[in-house]
Amino acid sequence: MALPGQTQLSHMEEFMEGIWKQNPVFVMVLGMCPTLAVSVSAVNSLSMGIATTFVLVCSTLLVSLIRKLVPKEVRIATYIVIIATFVTVVDYLIQAISLAVYDALGAFIQLIVVNCIILGRAEAHASKNPPLRTVVNALGMGLGFTLGLLSLGAVREIFGAGKLFGFSLFGPDFQPWVVMVLPPGGFFVLGAWLLLFNWLKNRKVDGALVKPLEGHTHA
């Protein structure tokens, strides 16, 4: 977003926003329902991430294209219709590609429509930026979301099933940690990742000798 007085980001920076600085999962903590619910395995996480990225890119592109035509009173309604359309499209596409993935993701495909990342991007970014910039930002956000899901899904699959992408890592005698594929496991793993990312961020800031404003809110 180019706020007044702020220099505009280059396309590369725009792309990296979603992956690192404003990662939807680890920094903005958005879209937690699908994050916690479907991240029981790496494959599920990847499929969900790709589906969300598809909806994100297509809908923000369309929103950006028509951004000057849409009256502000009906903009949210318009965005929701557009997002719902692409969610429906992706729903059919996944059914056509693999029923197994479709069954595993269950209702969460349809629920992409209420994923706050997408409406958030449409409202905060796509409605104010030209199509190319929008698509680059949406791709970064989608990729960041996919990476976030994947890092949860991989850990939960390794502990919960002893596998990664379906390949057995520890042999047939592995003892699965059942709790990891149950909802509490999602919270534990997410918490651990958030801890790691905050620690990395704080360390970086400390290294640069710039104390963050909220440096002691968690102390």
């Binding site: 002893g162 005698d173 003892q175 940690w177 534990f188």
Partner: protein, 349 residues
């Protein structure tokens, strides 16, 4: 609380001659737990000893790691991590693999204690958090039981004890066949009551032959140790009395209504982990109410919920979740049972 010992030196009369600090209380709890741990070693031999050591070492190492990371200094000296480790071992089945026991110890300290800010800030009893974690993670291993007093327990281990880390423990069927007296069903008295309507006799439950977790069967010993702590005022005697009393009353009511279906209160009191939970876990100072009225309510909630879970829940044993539920209610109980300041007018309803 910073983890350092605090003696209050300056105060108005009456002057306390000898300061009782956190370490003294905790040390006495450890001493009171030792006979129970010792009895479990007599019952289950080397495997129980290894289990107790594994959980305790795991708790101490986790505590050290986190106290160093958070810059709290050395918090091992307050003995609380030792208590958590001992209690945790006593609630686990004696055949529990050591690597899972170590995971339980880590979860107890990390999720049950450090997450909330350390000793005194924890909402839930850390040992029970650790047990709840492994109950959810390894539901099969935590319901695999070994018989008490099996021959050869001081010369060898139960085969599941030394399972390779991350691996599934081997089945116990063959080992049981070789070692064990006839009639061992591998089910706890509570499970046998729930699924077979078989009520174990009080004699069986008291003599320590009942299938159970490492430190659950010695009801008399637990009561004796509890009496010592209560007599020295290191423990609030009202909590175990409230837990045991309310459980007995509810069980008696059910028993009177339908004696064929519901067992006599003595079975409810002596089976499972009720005694251990009532005396050593519900009484944890950081996770129980501070007011006298609150303590009665808290104990009663635990007793009633335990019986309800046992009678109507999907699980056979409910003490663990009952105490955790009780812990969760403590702030609420404390808030509603604050004593009225003398002379102050009561709030209007």
């Amino acid at each position: 609380m910073t983890g350092k010992s605090r003696r209050i030196e300056l105060r108005a009369a009456p002057h306390v001659k000898r300061g009782v600090n956190v370490e003294t209380i905790m040390l006495h709890v450890v001493l009171a737990l030792l006979p129970i741990a010792g009895f479990s070693v007599i019952q289950y031999g080397l495997s129980a000893l290894a289990l107790i050591m594994a959980t305790t070492v795991s708790c101490l190492l986790s505590e050290r790691l986190f106290s160093r990371l958070s810059g709290q200094g050395n918090t091992l000296a307050d003995w609380s991590a030792t208590i958590t480790g001992l209690l945790l071992a006593l609630t686990l089945p004696p055949s529990f693999p050591l690597w899972m026991a170590a995971v339980a110890g880590f979860a107890a300290i990390a999720l049950g204690k450090v997450l909330f800010g350390g000793l005194g800030y924890n909402v839930f009893n850390p040992a029970l958090v650790g047990r709840a974690f492994v109950q959810a993670a390894f539901p099969v291993a935590i319901t695999t039981w070994a018989p008490a007093f099996f021959p050869g327990r001081f010369t060898g281990f139960i085969p599941t004890t030394f399972t390779m880390p991350l691996m599934t423990p081997p089945g116990l069927a063959e080992w049981l066949h070789q070692h064990v007296v006839d009639g061992f069903t591998g089910a706890t008295p509570l499970a046998r009551w729930k699924f077979e309507n078989h009520v174990a006799s009080a004699g069986d439950l008291l003599s320590g032959v009942a299938t159970a977790s490492a430190g659950e069967t010695s009801a008399l010993l637990i009561l004796a140790c509890g009496l010592y702590l209560a007599a020295r005022k290191f423990m609030d005697w009202r909590i175990p009395v409230a837990v045991i009393g309310s459980a007995a009353l509810v069980a008696l009511a059910f028993h009177l209504v339908d004696p064929g279906r519901y067992p006599a209160p003595v079975f409810v009191l002596l089976s499972g982990g009720l005694m251990l939970g009532a005396v050593f876990m519900a009484t944890d100072m950081a996770t129980s109410p501070v007011t006298a009225t609150g303590v009665w309510i808290y104990g009663a909630v635990i007793g009633v919920v335990t019986v309800m879970i046992r009678y109507f829940g999907g699980l056979t044993e409910g003490v663990m979740y009952a105490i955790l539920i009780g812990n969760a209610l403590v702030p609420l109980i404390d808030q509603y049972t604050q004593p009225r300041v003398f002379g102050a007018r009561g709030r209007k309803a």
